[in-house]
């Protein structure tokens, strides 16, 4: 079967399952007894295995399978969760991630067998089972189950099914009665939709020949469709293998059947110490998926198993981002057309009545386009969770690697951001978190001596604020030592000593965002290579966002990232400078003031104005933009106060037009774009207005 059409679905789902595994494994590490989590893990691993098998990714399937075995033992309570085990399992997840990455890039899982990892897993399994058994029960429990994976490299088939003691006895007895035990390996077709139903028919067919003593997976699992395309049925029968084979093959959608003879000697025995389990299993499980069998089996299963098979119905569709972009472009056009319509004065065409009717319709249109715009924007919004959910795992690994106990607290994961922003924000956030973990937090000993809790805390907090989203990353570590930054900056020649004298604390912190500036004394694997904060800054600025850093020595550091909710359509203030129209994004505007000319003061040859106690530098836009026609000076000037973080500047413009919803367009790559212009927009009358980037002016 050609599975390439399912590749995208596979990749998406594999990612989801891996994420779920990561999250739950983290929980399991902390709460080893959490039953729900174990079940959750088991289910995710199982689905992943099934999917990998269906897609023909054998290596991935094998590894998942081995991990699943471990989960199985944990779930059945035969094994305790130990740190070495979780480490090993996390490594396994990384290896699986690698497979998925390979598949994304090349559609192939790659050639890495991860044999060492599989060996480690097997070892952990062994050690875990032994250690636990020694402590708890006298009889060792060995259950090296190698379920019917369609993996040729798997254990030889004859001994692939593990039998309990009583089952073995049954085989022996049967042999005495002249019955032969057969293992029937059934492979269903990949396209098979109702696997449980097919399996039921197979069971029915086999029952005609004799007694079914065992199936792998067990009847309950099969009934719940918790198996891949293959399963094994063990039957005591007088019939010939060929008859069995033919009968089972008669069931539709069965792809392949192999029948193997099992003798008493080549049977793998699982010695079980749990007498009650024996009791359960002594009852033969003949009529496979019948109510009674289900009831028997379900007593063995942890509660919630049966309820969990119902997947949460997800009322969502996956849509190609390009289709959304198209939709977005159309909405943009619509808004331009609407603005165009609104700018046509109806005076010339109609009488008073028609004029008001026209205006009414325009308002109606405005409302609709506004709503459509918002809806489309909302469709493009993705919760920030999809980016930050990988961080707990990262912090856990860092904690081990750096040997610093630390804990990540996240809030506001449900805050939504535009898809384009989400895709880009992951790396900068990761940089900042790594910085916090590596440089920010002190080692446990230092923390102890300072009277802080030994476990360091890192907080990741996201929330919406007006038209932007704020992401705060803070730690309760040592803070930034500005003296150290100063010394380093002078040593590196970034600043001179004279400059350093006049610099404020904040200026020093800003130095950290300069390219190749790192204060870490030693370059670690984690961070400190001097690429980081400058990359963070440029990335965030390319998303029209800002990043700020506040720090208190000995108390911690906070990075505040501010991002616009959307990039395509914004509210802006239209202004006139010279005889040209410009747009200033509303998001960056603080206030608008009329300033009498005599209030403009000069400080160090720069024009400033004292606005309600704060000194704001003035920027004469007509000069900056070199407008060809300058308006004569008036007695008062109009000042648009823009803010970039805590910094402010007053842009002096000639006139205000008003607020307008504008569609941001690029002015192309050929034209030399000084940073002041962030794009352009088409006004209702077809005229172009350039968009000023307030960030570049402050």
């Amino acid at each position: 079967m050609d599975v390439s059409q399912y590749l995208e679905v596979f990749i998406e789902e594999a990612k989801e399952h891996l994420q779920a595994l990561n999250e739950h494994l983290l929980i399991l590490e902390k709460e080893p007894e959490n039953e729900n989590t174990i079940n959750e893990i088991f289910r995710a691993a199982h689905s992943l295995k099934g999917m990998a098998g269906t897609m023909g990714y054998k290596r991935m399937q094998k590894l998942t399978h081995d991990m699943e075995n471990v989960f199985q033992e944990i779930r059945s309570g035969k094994m305790k969760v130990r740190p070495e085990l979780t480490d090993c399992l996390f490594e396994g997840l990384d290896a699986l991630q690698e497979y998925v990455d390979n598949i994304i890039n090349t559609q192939d899982e790659g050639t890495n067998d991860n044999q060492p990892l599989i060996d480690t897993l097997a070892h952990e399994l062994e050690v875990g089972l032994k250690g636990d058994a020694a402590a708890a029960a006298p009889a060792p429990e060995v259950k090296a189950e190698t379920a019917p994976a369609p993996e040729p490299a798997a254990a030889p088939k004859a001994s692939s099914v593990v039998y309990a003691d009583h089952e073995k006895m049954a085989i022996k007895e049967a042999a005495a009665q002249g019955l032969t035990t057969y293992e029937i390996h059934v492979d269903l077709q990949e396209s098979c939709l109702l696997k449980a139903a097919r399996a039921y028919l197979v069971f029915k067919a086999v029952e005609e020949f004799g007694e079914i003593i065992k199936s792998v997976p067990d009847a309950q699992m099969i009934e719940d469709e918790k198996f891949d395309l293959s399963f094994v049925v063990c039957v005591l029968s007088k019939a010939t293998p060929e008859d069995l084979r033919k009968r089972v093959l008669n069931v539709s959608e069965v792809k392949e059947v192999t029948v193997e003879k099992v003798t008493f000697d080549n049977v793998q025995v699982a010695e079980t110490a749990e007498t009650e389990k024996k009791e359960e299993e002594k009852k033969p499980v003949p009529q496979a998926p019948t109510a009674s069998a289900a009831a028997t089996a379900s007593t063995q299963k942890p509660a919630g198993q049966t309820t969990q098979k119902k997947a949460v119905v997800n009322r969502s569709v996956r849509v190609d981002i390009e289709k959304l972009d198209d939709l977005m472009n159309l909405v943009s056009e619509l808004i331009i057309a609407k603005n165009g319509l609104a700018s046509i004065s109806p005076d010339d065409y109609a009488g008073k009545e028609k004029r008001s009717a026209f205006n009414e319709q325009i308002e109606y249109l405005e409302r609709i386009t506004g709503n459509i715009h918002q809806s489309v924007m909302k469709v493009r919004m993705v919760p920030i969770e999809s980016v930050v959910n990988r961080f707990p795992r990262m912090i856990r690994d860092l904690s081990k690697k750096l040997d610093k106990p630390m804990e990540l607290y996240m809030s506001g994961e449900e805050t939504e951001l535009d898809r384009t922003v989400i895709d880009e924000i992951g790396d900068p956030l990761m940089h900042i978190l790594r910085n916090s973990a590596d440089h920010g937090l002190e080692s446990a000993e230092v923390r102890k001596s300072l009277g802080k809790p030994e476990v360091g805390s890192i907080f990741l907090n996201a929330y919406q604020e007006g038209n932007s989203v704020v992401i705060e990353c803070s730690d309760d570590g040592g803070g930034i030592n500005t003296e150290k930054v100063k010394a380093k900056a002078i040593e590196k020649g970034t600043i001179t000593e004279e400059q350093a004298e006049t610099m404020t604390e904040k200026d020093f912190i800003d130095l950290l965002f300069k390219p190749s500036f790192s204060t870490a004394d030693k370059i670690s694997d984690v961070s400190g290579r001097g690429v980081g904060l400058d990359v963070v800054k440029s990335k965030i600025e390319s998303l029209s966002g800002t990043v700020e850093c506040r720090t208190a020595l000995g108390q911690g550091t906070t990075f505040t990232i501010r991002l616009p909710l959307t990039l395509a359509i914004i509210q802006s203030l239209m202004v006139i400078i010279g005889d040209e129209k410009y747009a200033i994004p509303l998001g960056s505007i603080d206030t608008i003031e009329d300033i009498p000319i005599e209030e403009i003061k000069k400080v160090e040859k720069k024009e400033v104005v004292n606005l309600r106690g704060s000194v704001i530098p003035l920027v004469r836009m007509a000069d900056i933009l070199e407008v060809p026609v300058k308006k004569p000076e008036k007695n008062t000037v109009t000042m648009v106060v823009v803010a970039k973080g805590e910094k402010k500047a007053g842009l002096i413009v000639d006139d205000l037009i008003g607020q307008l919803e504008i569609v941001i367009k690029s002015i192309g790559k050929y034209i030399n774009n000084s940073k002041i212009i962030s794009g352009a927009t088409v006004l209702g009358d077809g005229e172009i207005a350039l968009i000023l980037d307030a960030n570049a002016l402050v």
């Binding site: 933009l625 407008v627 060809p628 192309g668 050929y670 034209i671 030399n672 000084s674 172009i688 350039l690």
Partner: protein
């Protein structure tokens, strides 16, 4: 995109748009041309290169416009009813407009009728070669050189 002026392997003739700039004939490979529009209002972009008078709005798309006269160091444009803006698409997502004095016609020039220019003279680098045509000599523009911004390099 491949350099459209590199036609050494093609034997047949190629089509060029014959335009007038400062009373000289220039040929622009027709494969680059997306559209030819009349002169329209140009919005100045502050701090741009001096040969970019600004941007125009072409059906909602914003396109930077270059003055070939200024680019070649001739006298500044005098807009007449004959002035046109050639819209070129050197890359799928990046259009650019060239202001020319006049667009004459589409001409066919065979490869062997083009003299390749190999001088390193500064101004001549904009010219890929000189083609012979019934109505005289036509300088074939080297589009990528025209688009290349020396100051940025």
């Amino acid at each position: 995109m491949a350099d459209g002026t590199d036609v050494s392997n093609v034997v047949e003739s190629k089509q060029y748009i014959d335009v007038m700039i400062n009373n000289e004939q220039y040929g622009i490979d027709i494969n680059f041309i997306d559209n030819i529009v009349r002169m329209q209002r140009i919005t100045r972009v502050p701090k741009a290169q001096d040969y970019f008078p600004g941007v125009i709005n072409l059906r909602g798309e914003i396109i930077p416009v270059m003055s070939l006269r200024r680019r070649f160091g001739f006298e500044d444009d005098v807009f007449t009813p004959k002035t046109r803006i050639l819209i070129l698409k050197p890359e799928p997502q990046a259009s650019i407009g060239f202001i020319v004095d006049e667009v004459k016609e589409v001409i066919n020039i065979k490869e062997e009728e083009i003299d390749r220019v190999v001088t390193s003279d500064d101004k001549n680098t904009f010219i890929a070669g000189v083609g012979k045509h019934t109505k005289g000599l036509v300088s074939i523009l080297n589009i990528s050189a025209v688009l290349q911004d020396k100051e940025q390099d």
